[in-house]
């Protein structure tokens, strides 16, 4: 199988009326100008519908009593290709592991969602959110409290039985 070249079938230049084409173009642009259906979304008033699989800034799920679901297993910093997760785990008196430090640098993050995929207890998620502007750069390192406070919905994982999320 070779590379295929598609040759455009154009009429001979001598048989093409450029003036008529120009006038047709003018008519077309005029029709679009008076067309009331504009595609612009008036953004702050009109919000975009994000896909349920949109991957934005992270969310840490919590238990009913407010503790993070994270068990500090260390899988997410291991799998993270951008190396943006910093995790220091600890153990309480009952022998339950919990994160002492859990920080995600959202600037380094590439939003691949592998941390969510790998998490055994469904604690860390990427979220459906893009409005994450801040006034200073250090505000982009999200610590554990910040991750737990995030109130946007978390991203759905890809479902192989429904590959197009329909």
């Amino acid at each position: 199988m070779g590379v295929q070249v598609k040759v455009m079938q154009r009429p001979e230049p001598g048989r093409t009326s450029y003036l008529r084409a120009a006038l047709k173009g003018m008519a077309l642009t005029f029709r679009h100008m008076v067309n009331p259906n504009k595609v612009t979304q008036q953004y702050p008033e009109e919000q975009t519908d994000l896909s349920p699989r949109w991957r934005g800034t992270h969310v840490m799920e919590t238990h009913a009593d407010g503790r993070p679901k994270c068990v500090a297993c260390g899988l997410c910093p291991t799998v993270c290709p951008a190396n943006c997760i910093r995790l220091v785990g600890g153990e309480d008196d009952n022998g339950n592991r919990y994160p002492i430090v859990y920080e995600i640098d959202e600037f380094r993050c590439i939003f691949c969602g592998m941390c969510q995929e790998v998490c055994p207890v469904e604690a860390i998620h990427v979220g459906q959110d893009f409005e994450n502007a801040e006034y200073s750069r250090d505000r982009f390192v999200y610590d554990l409290d910040r991750l737990m406070e995030q109130d946007h919905p978390s991203t759905l994982l890809w479902d192989p039985s429904d590959p197009r999320s329909e």
Partner: protein, 430 residues
């Protein structure tokens, strides 16, 4: 009613200068707004609509932004000419409009005020002279920037402006012959007397003038001097903040002058169509609105509301051309540079030259036959010009002048496409 004289005349003159300057600046500001809105609508967007109601304060925000922005000075630029360039560009653009009459004479308690800043007898020549000074600003700023793209843009600008000025002037000659004068006030009067706007009896001159005016104002499809895809932004690449803004204002002021000029020369200026009550002209010491059957002058009745009505009509005509500028810009793609030059020198120049000959002969024959300057005179010229226009459009079209990129079809052999298919054997060898 007598024309205004003495101290009130000087005050009226100053008032007109201030009013016209302000009006031009406001129209320029809102033409940029209109350009952005209309281009957005054409592309099914909504355009700037955030600053004030419907985004109407957007030009003010833009102006503020441009004043507050940092002025950058390229280290290798020639500072003196670099600063002088924008000024040389903006001043001719703003003063050319001074000779365009924008309304019927306005009666005041102190006398009648002509609604034109400077009713100089050399009207059209003034516009041509001053507007071609604008190219100095472009060339100087392009050269002083010490940037190859700016320099190329400046070179293109000078070549293009010189080329199309010839066609522009020759298209004008037809109107000057028909009007028998170069004063723009007189031109409006002659169109009122002919009962035809010059766009009809001189239709080919009108088309040539519109094309040449597009090229003269560096607007698409002739924006060679700033062709973004080739020259960054051409001659004003190195300019920032208010100096860039001055080029911008100059471009739109040129557009406005050209629109006002086209409206005056070919669409009867402030003349209201199908009406004679607005006609007024200062003729041998009195304002007249025409001549009766015996050739005696009819005195004009001037009124403030008539001046206002004619002003509105003039604004509508100018606005139509401004809209045409924007509409064409967002429809037609840019010409190639050699196509622009071909169009200027090989098409517009000979066609306008030939057309001047035809119109001159027609006017001469009509005068010889004793046809009075009036409706019939215009009708004959309209038919002749209509035939010329059809011939010109036929000649221009279907690849006789404007050609696409494919040239070989002119040779009597098939176009050979390069065979870029990779043979199967080459892949199997891997």
């Amino acid at each position: 009613m007598e024309p205004i004289t003495g101290i009130p005349a000087i005050l009226a003159m100053l008032a007109k200068v201030v009013a016209i300057f302000t009006a031009v600046m406001i129209v320029v500001a809102y033409t940029t707004y209109a350009e952005r809105r209309i281009s957005a609508w054409i592309q099914d967007r909504s355009g700037p609509n955030r600053v004030g109601p419907f985004g109407l304060l957007q030009p003010i925000a833009d102006g503020l932004k441009n004043i507050l922005k940092e002025e950058t000075m390229p280290a290798t630029a020639n500072l003196f000419w670099f600063v002088l360039g924008p000024m040389l560009t903006i001043i001719p653009a703003l003063i050319a409009i001074a000779v365009v009459p924008f309304a019927a004479p306005l009666p005041t308690p102190w006398g009648v005020v002509d609604m034109v800043v400077a009713d100089v007898p050399i009207g059209v020549l003034w516009v041509l002279a001053v507007s071609s000074l604008g190219v100095y600003g472009v060339v100087i700023s392009g050269w002083a920037s010490n940037n190859k793209y700016a320099f190329l843009g400046a070179l293109r600008a000078s070549a293009q402006l010189v080329s199309f000025e010839v066609a522009l002037g020759l298209a004008l000659i037809a109107t000057l012959m028909l009007a028998g004068n170069v004063s723009l006030t007189e031109m409006v009067w002659q169109q009122q007397q002919l009962d035809w706007w010059y766009a009809f009896p001189l239709s080919l001159a009108f088309i040539l003038f519109v094309i040449a005016a597009f090229a003269e104002t560096n607007r698409l499809p002739f924006d060679m001097p700033e062709a973004e895809s080739e020259l960054v932004t051409g001659y004003h690449t190195e300019y920032s903040a208010m100096k860039f803004s001055m080029f911008f204002i100059a471009e739109y002021a040129h557009m406005m002058t050209a629109s006002a000029l086209m409206a005056t020369l070919f669409l009867g200026g402030w003349d209201i169509p199908f009406a004679t009550w607005d006609d007024a002209y200062y003729w041998q010491g009195q304002y007249i609105s025409g001549f009766d059957e015996a050739g005696a002058p009819i005195a004009a009745s001037l009124a403030v509301w008539k001046s206002l009505a004619t002003y509105v009509v003039f604004s509508l005509k100018t606005g139509f051309f401004l809209f045409l500028y924007i509409w064409v810009r967002w429809t037609l793609p840019r010409f190639r540079y050699d196509q622009v030059m071909t169009l200027g020198w090989k098409v517009l120049l000979p066609v306008s030259l030939g057309y001047v000959m035809i119109v001159a002969s027609a006017i001469l024959v009509l005068d010889y036959l004793g046809v009075a300057y009036g409706f019939l005179f215009g009708l004959v010229l309209t038919v002749i010009s209509g035939l010329c226009t059809i011939g010109f459009l036929f000649f221009l079209d279907r690849d006789r002048v404007i050609a696409g990129a494919a040239v070989p079809h002119r040779l009597d052999r098939p176009v050979r496409m390069p065979d870029t298919r990779v043979p199967d054997t080459a892949i199997q060898g891997d």
